[in-house]
Symmetry: C2
């Protein structure tokens, strides 16, 4: 056991590779179709013109510069060949593994295929740039539009899904309209923008304590967001969302209502002849070994852990990545690793300027204090010195001036 | 005379609009197909992964937030209708003018149409992002390439044109390879990259004093750049440049050998039935009024001034923009403005870390002192507080660590 291949340079993959790199006898190959590790929790900031992609992305190579036993490979995995212990890239290149770690994450999951072309998701840098363009162009087009119905539609933003991503996007779009853009137009008043957050369940942020769900709702409403609970989307067409009897015409329809494992999970399930779990996830045991496989492990958003599903957060992926790196090193030394145990480090969501909710076991915070904590923790985890300073500076600037720094359409 | 339309939010257009805005009786419409003003002198930094687009772009609207008599219109001008004093946008919208200022700049000019598909130019943000992707992907592909000829081609960068843009790009690519990427690969040595700067004339930077041309050449050579003078490109094919008997196979071929006025100049010439000058430029008189027109003025890179061509620099456009704003205000007051006089404020080009050349009349500087001056002046002119601080910070960080901050491929 010498060759270890890690697929995916997200939170799980880079942490696994970093742990593995400590054993200099191991040869680690880290494969990703992007050349950067992305700080996903800030993707909504790119989508709403607060930050640039490079502020939340670190080149994977730079991250492993000193780890000479780690080779970074830019490539997209086509399939896994468990019979030969190979992975096959899109260009047909084969890479052999003694042990394989799949950490390829999740993708947007829109449960009705017909809706896909009418909504924007938010899982990648290109998603975020497309959403930024859509939002900024909506105001530009509204400025030039004479038809009042069309103008209203252009200035309507519907966000589907009341989890953390939906809440963060709704708050950020409302702030963009009400604070950053408000003085910049002559024919429209950007603060007239309608921002509607739609949730099928009975409260926002269902994984939080109900008191924090309530607080998030009232904070969003103070920003002018309409929050529609118990509202199931029944139909989506171009520029139109229907919810049973209700309907909203909106140029911008944003999907934040769920993800599923990447296609690689399905491919792995096929090769190993095992069924996938909820959201196309692969089943792993308590050692994160994939059901039906000897040398294949998986973690993070693409797995269904043991007999339940862990939250789809960076924290879970980081913990599992570190665990797996250590476990494989132990295995190589002939030791038996202990099973993975998830340690709940709490959860948080930001709503806007000075507004957030934080829950760490019994501790529940909201408002300014929660927001400061959110800023501190996120900046702390944002990998790479430059990004930390650059992002912090841009936030201070945004906070003081209400301006957004990345308001370019291209 | 109340309605003034300015086409283009480059250095010339924004300065003209800012001056015009001072007369609150004037109604100014500033039309651009982009929503941002671009700090063009730093575009090569985006192309070589030093800065992000948002670092060198300011939303045009934000720039005129307080000028309530300025309306910013996002749109592309299709043609000018001098008979009706209208401009016509791509969406057929007509905008009336009493006086029109054309400040739409220049585009890449590749004198052989067959070569266009094989080279990258550098005039827009999308050009810069495409070049960044091309350069970074070349190293990624070389890392995975087994064929030594192909690897050599992937790691070869030919820059055609020895003016400031060519010199700056050659220096920045050489530094990227030799300093920023050097430790990040396992199968290639990025500092083996060939960077070849090709100039048809007998020296680099022909508008500078010969001693500075010589210095730029030797500074580039110290960075490992091959400088080929007196070398005329005779043929460009995919991944191959021929120069008479010589030929270089290179995956990346960069065009920095000249620009021409944007298509709007040609359209204006047609409408007014006047001939264009060198590089498709429109002829203007000493008041910057377009030949053959009563109410149309033009400035910057798209004009041929009086009987000679001024340098295609930001300085010329800024001076002409300010002049024209003041001249039109004077005209409205019934005064006769004086003709435009160009004031030579000197010129500078950077070669790399601590290396630049500066020429201000009799003063000629090179090396670290020139570089500090270049940094200071460029940061000073970089519009918008945030950008100044953000760019300065990223430079300090790059200077101290040799790292590049925007090394993402997307």
């Amino acid at each position: 056991m010498r060759e270890i291949v890690v697929i995916g340079a997200g939170f799980g993959g880079i942490n696994a590779a970093k742990e593995l790199a400590k054993d200099k006898e191991l040869r680690v190959k880290l494969v990703d179709r992007r050349n950067y590790h992305l700080f996903q929790p800030f993707l909504y900031q790119v989508a709403t013109a607060g930050l640039s992609p490079a502020d939340i992305a670190v080149p994977v190579r730079a991250f492993f510069r000193q780890d000479k036993n780690v080779e970074v490979i830019l490539g997209e995995v086509e399939k896994i060949d468990p019979g030969k212990n190979d992975i096959v890239l899109k260009d047909n290149q084969r890479i052999h593994y003694d042990k394989l770690v799949m950490a390829a994450g999740a993708k947007n999951f829109i449960f009705n295929k017909d809706w896909e072309e009418h909504v924007c998701g938010l899982k990648s840098v290109s998603d975020a740039l497309a959403m930024r363009k859509k939002i900024l162009m909506a105001f530009e087009s509204a400025e030039l539009e004479n038809d009042s119905q069309k103008k209203k539609s252009l200035m309507s933003f519907v966000i589907i899904g009341g989890g953390p991503t939906g809440v963060e996007l709704a708050g950020a779009i409302a702030e963009l309209a009400r604070f950053s853009l408000v003085q910049d137009f002559r024919n429209i008043n950007p603060s007239d923008a309608r921002v509607v957050l739609i949730e099928a369940g009975e409260r926002l942020l269902p994984s939080f304590h109900p008191s924090l769900s309530q607080r998030a709702k009232s904070d969003l409403e103070k920003l002018g967001v309409s929050v529609w609970l118990d509202s199931k989307v029944t139909k989506i067409e171009k520029n139109r969302v229907e919810l049973g009897e209700d309907a909203i015409n909106a140029h911008s329809i944003i999907w934040a209502a769920g993800v599923a494992a990447v296609d690689l999970a399905g491919q792995a399930g096929e090769s190993l002849e095992v069924d996938l779990q909820k959201g196309d996830r692969v089943q792993v045991n308590e050692y994160l070994r994939v059901k039906g496989a000897q040398d294949i492990y998986a973690l993070g958003d693409m797995v269904y852990f043991d007999d339940h599903q862990l939250p789809g957060t960076a924290s879970v992926a980081i913990q599992q990545g570190k665990y797996l790196g250590r476990a494989l090193r132990a295995l190589k030394e002939g030791k038996e690793p202990a099973g993975f145990r998830y340690k709940d480090k709490g959860q948080m969501a930001t709503i806007g300027r000075s507004k957030a909710v934080v829950q760490i076991r019994k501790l529940r915070l909201s408002g300014l204090l929660a927001w400061c904590m959110w800023v501190f923790i996120h900046i702390y985890f944002l990998i790479g010195f430059r990004n930390r300073v650059s992002v912090l500076l841009q936030w201070m600037w945004s906070y003081l001036t209400y301006k957004k720094g990345a308001r370019i359409i291209n």
